[in-house]
Symmetry: C2
Subunit: 339 residues, 2 copies
Amino acid sequence: MSTSRTELKDLGEFKLIENITQNFKLHHTTSIHGIGDDAAVIDTGNFYTLVTTDMLVEGVSFDLTYCPLKHVGYKAVVSNIADIIAMNGVAEQITVSIAISSRFTLEAVQELYQGIYRACEHYQIDLVGGDTTSSTSGLILSITAIGRVSKEKLCLRKGAKPYDLVCVTGDLGAAYLGLQILNREKELFEADPHMQPKLQPYQYLVERQLKPEARTDMIQMFEQINLVPSSMIDISDGLASELLHISKASGVGITVYENKLPIDQKTHETAEALHLSSTLCALHGGEDYELLFTIPQSELPKIEKCSNIHMIGYVTDPSLGVKLITNSEESIDITAQGW
Amino acid sequence: MSTSRTELKDLGEFKLIENITQNFKLHHTTSIHGIGDDAAVIDTGNFYTLVTTDMLVEGVSFDLTYCPLKHVGYKAVVSNIADIIAMNGVAEQITVSIAISSRFTLEAVQELYQGIYRACEHYQIDLVGGDTTSSTSGLILSITAIGRVSKEKLCLRKGAKPYDLVCVTGDLGAAYLGLQILNREKELFEADPHMQPKLQPYQYLVERQLKPEARTDMIQMFEQINLVPSSMIDISDGLASELLHISKASGVGITVYENKLPIDQKTHETAEALHLSSTLCALHGGEDYELLFTIPQSELPKIEKCSNIHMIGYVTDPSLGVKLITNSEESIDITAQGW
């Protein structure tokens, strides 16, 4: 081992991936796209096969104090399906690997798989493989999803062009606020184990956090209205992070408007009550699993009547960077960390 | 959560998998084979796509005291390739996910990926995706390999028929003895940190443990001599366990001969010095990553001149079970635990 010591926390996930994968070369002409998109793209003849994978670690990615194992399983499948959808594809198979400590019983593992099963039924996914092993601490879950997309319908992060319109589906920030509510109730519960959690008023937010859904309906709609986005990504790390990914991969600038961000009334109210900015929740909250995509202006008529799609801005020259025009008409740089 | 408590250690891995996957139904006609073989089989038109996945946990699957990170990475890729090969396929892509605690530096992660890179170069595999996350304890590695096989050349665990010949490639038991040697040197080192490990006389065994290879050469040879085994599996858990898998999946009995088991001279000598039975090492040691396969007797001429292939027995009627005929001509039941 080398004698120099670079701490991983000083590097960040994206820099780490860049560093460790820079020497890898692709050997097969069938490997169309590798690292750097929501899923890998493999040429399998008549269509592209899509492969994506996620690893979830107890105590890092989820907290079993308030997240039932059934929800951990469901959400893990959904987040992988969302990555396949982001390529404009359809997920068909998953493999599930788990490492579990002796703290878990068969009944606990069964509960986890009930959630996985529920998601497989809902999204018509086949569980075709996996691995089970022991862990020295807690539960670790690794899911790989396999899907397919017609070659002419593949969407990547690259492909956005200046003057394209920037769109998002659904609403943003709710999953993050759901997490804040769950954390607050957990703290209250730890202080007084007799308290009853008051989650009812926040049902929408908590459900967005614990049981998110992947926008398969949008992919079906794109098919119906014959729309192929020029670029697409799913919103798992927050809108800001995903805008920066599209900008970097496409080599473009993007301008979005604060007053166009789709934020649910309940998200607004709760953010205010918690002294948080709902705009910041939408930009940096993450785990919404909505889609961010761009379309040429000529395609606008196709989506004008879709109530679930919101235009939030437009693509610009790369020199203009990634900007938010605030409600007070200030132009602010969007960064991964905050603004 | 249910109120009953079934400890996982009372169940074992295969029973656990059976239990949690029994309710899963396959929705897609493209999902040809799911759980229960070395890899899943997906119909992608002109050929089958193969998918396999493994999860490795520090302190359970590997010990960093004597296994350098480079070897952990190399071996993890090899064990996945071996699963694709067991289907008579060729591995083309992998995804690699890691969870790492703050104990690890960038340099350590780079060393792990050097091993992964080396295996990718050697076996012409493309690293096309993955995930990186934090862990609360140690290193966890999850690899998924994707490969392909012509539809008429697919080999499953099922397909063996009575009177078929049972063959293995290479030699068995060496990887297990390599592990015993490494464990012995570790104990000596812990007792006296000034000792120098004496690994040189055991180089072959230690290399079989730390840097195993997948038998891609055998798949190429099968292609050249136009042989399609009637069933096949890779020897990762030990010959006994794999014989039982073929027997169960194919619905047949198997008889193998102790004096036919391919065991290297060094394995014999070291087993004797450690007061172990080399036959038991071959049957239950595991991690050899050799191939176990069956062929119809009519195919025998095709393999008679292949020095790397050893006939160890034949397939029988299911009522005869899985048996070892010992050197003293006793017939003994082969079980997963021992005999």
